[in-house]
């Protein structure tokens, strides 16, 4: 196995605390109430938000707030081996943690008896697709005009060749020692997603978490820039 880190540089040329290139676009889909497209390393993900809207089936309606639903899905061509289009157990779990990562930021009480649907479609998958999806979904929710308490930004950190590094890529995930995806509400300073695959001591855990939160804040800056460009600098062009 080739080492993943040599002379302080990672296999894709990054430093330990360096994010892969991140690019977000807003309002990419005409029909959706809100939408975003993100490139996060080699991840290419499109997110649509529909709602607030009527709830079907009716029994999912809640009298005091909106029902939040989320579907994380990978296109069959998004991965090395063609993926069956039916939702896998992995996709069902990620749909759940994505919804739970976003929900604390949303003022669902403002939309009783309605549904808000988030669709995350992974067109090309790389390491960290759930964090990239959450990041894009938060922007799409803002684009849809859903009331939010805070933004949600997400980024993973991990352990590779006995070193804590930021923003684990595909190779680093498969060959590395630990992967910790984190989602963060940057103003409320609250963590809404945290998972771990791999072994960390208590000290490494804290270090890894700190790395991830620094990554989240960098992602947050990009989210803000994107929305600013869309809603303020381009105000004259909008319809």
């Amino acid at each position: 196995m080739g080492k993943l880190i040599q002379n302080g540089i990672r296999i894709d040329g990054r430093k330990f605390d360096e994010l892969r290139p991140v690019k977000i676009e807003v309002g990419v889909l005409k029909n959706a109430d809100g939408s975003a497209y993100i490139e996060f390393g080699n991840n290419k993900i499109v997110v649509a938000v529909y709602g607030p809207k009527e709830v079907h089936p009716k029994h999912m309606e809640m009298p005091d707030k909106a029902t939040l639903r989320c579907r994380y899905h990978m296109s069959p061509f998004s991965v090395e081996e063609r993926k069956n289009p039916a939702p896998s157990r992995r996709e069902i779990e990620i749909s759940k943690v994505t919804r739970e990562a976003l929900e604390p930021a949303l003022i669902l009480e403002d939309y009783p008896r309605t549904a808000i649907d988030i669709y995350v479609e992974v067109l090309q998958s790389d390491g960290g697709s759930r964090c990239a999806g959450i990041t894009a979904a938060a922007v799409a929710l803002a684009d849809a005009g859903i009331g939010m308490r805070d933004m949600v930004c997400a980024c993973a950190a991990g352990k590779v060749d006995d070193t804590i590094v930021l923003d684990i890529s595909d190779v680093e995930d498969k060959e590395g020692q630990a992967d910790m995806p984190v989602a963060y509400l940057p103003n409320l300073k609250q963590i809404s997603l945290m998972q771990l695959d791999g072994k960390l001591t208590a000290e490494e855990y804290e270090e890894c978490l700190n790395f991830a939160l620094k990554g989240c804040l960098q992602v947050y800056e990009i989210q803000k820039e994107t929305l600013q460009k869309r809603y303020f600098s381009e105000v004259s062009k909008s319809e």
């Binding site: 309002g27 889909l29 005409k30 029909n31 959706a32 109430d33 809100g34 939408s35 080699n42 290419k44 499109v46 997110v47 649509a48 529909y50 809207k53 579907r71 899905h73 296109s75 069959p76 061509f77 998004s78 991965v79 090395e80 081996e81 063609r82 289009p85 039916a86 649907d117 669709y119 479609e121 067109l123 090309q124 998958s125 684009d143 849809a144």
Partner: protein
Amino acid sequence: MSRRSSIVIEHLRQEQMEALLKVGKRLDGRGLTDYRELKIETGLIKKAEGSALVSLGNTQVIAGVKIEVDKPFPDMPDKGLLICNAEVLPLASAYAEPGPPDEAAIELARVVDRGIRESEMIDLSKLVIKENEKVYAVFIDVSILNTDGNLFDATSYAVVSALLTTKIPKYEIINNELIKTNEFINMPINTIPISVTMAKINNSIVVDPTNEEEMCMDARVTMTVDEANRVCAVQKGERGTLSIEQIKEIINLAIYKSVDIREKIKGVVYGKEKEQ
């Protein structure tokens, strides 16, 4: 941004559409036989062996081609496999639902597949590694990202563009073992089939209908035309009917429109290839 309109406004739009059609015009300013702007971007998905993102007006679809190695069908031992699927993703419209493809999505995939297959666009006999044992299986999956009418043509152009830019990883059988080489082969192409979809609305024939137009159409006909101007696949849909005269009109229209669209696709695909 959300687009919501009341039924009253929809009816007014419909009346306006019908009035315009009588004088040869359409709601979005196009003539009856004009296509919306067609944009094609290939190679977006590096993990796929071929891919294309296509916009036809506001209709947006992405096609990806994955190549696997499989056994041939027993009755076609000397032919590669071609499998085409389409899914209208729930993000594509407020009316799309998650779940397995419905009747309309199945028809869409099958009609696009028919155009590729019946035109013999791909020379499947060149996709054989070892007769009767190992052939290339070409999986084409289409994800519909945004719907605004004429999914048939948008999907077909995405599939054709993805196939034209597909590089097949070459496999060899050495000592009875399947080996993946580092070489790539081009998809073996015989012709470029072009799908042309026409809608009959109140006895007018229009090409490339928008969603608004599809809501009012009586019948839809999709004709796929090959480079020799032969019709290779046809599908009439919806509950309306066509007269013999209308069908004659439609055949000529399909052949006529196919020429320009084929040139457009060739320009994008081969133009791009030279750039690389």
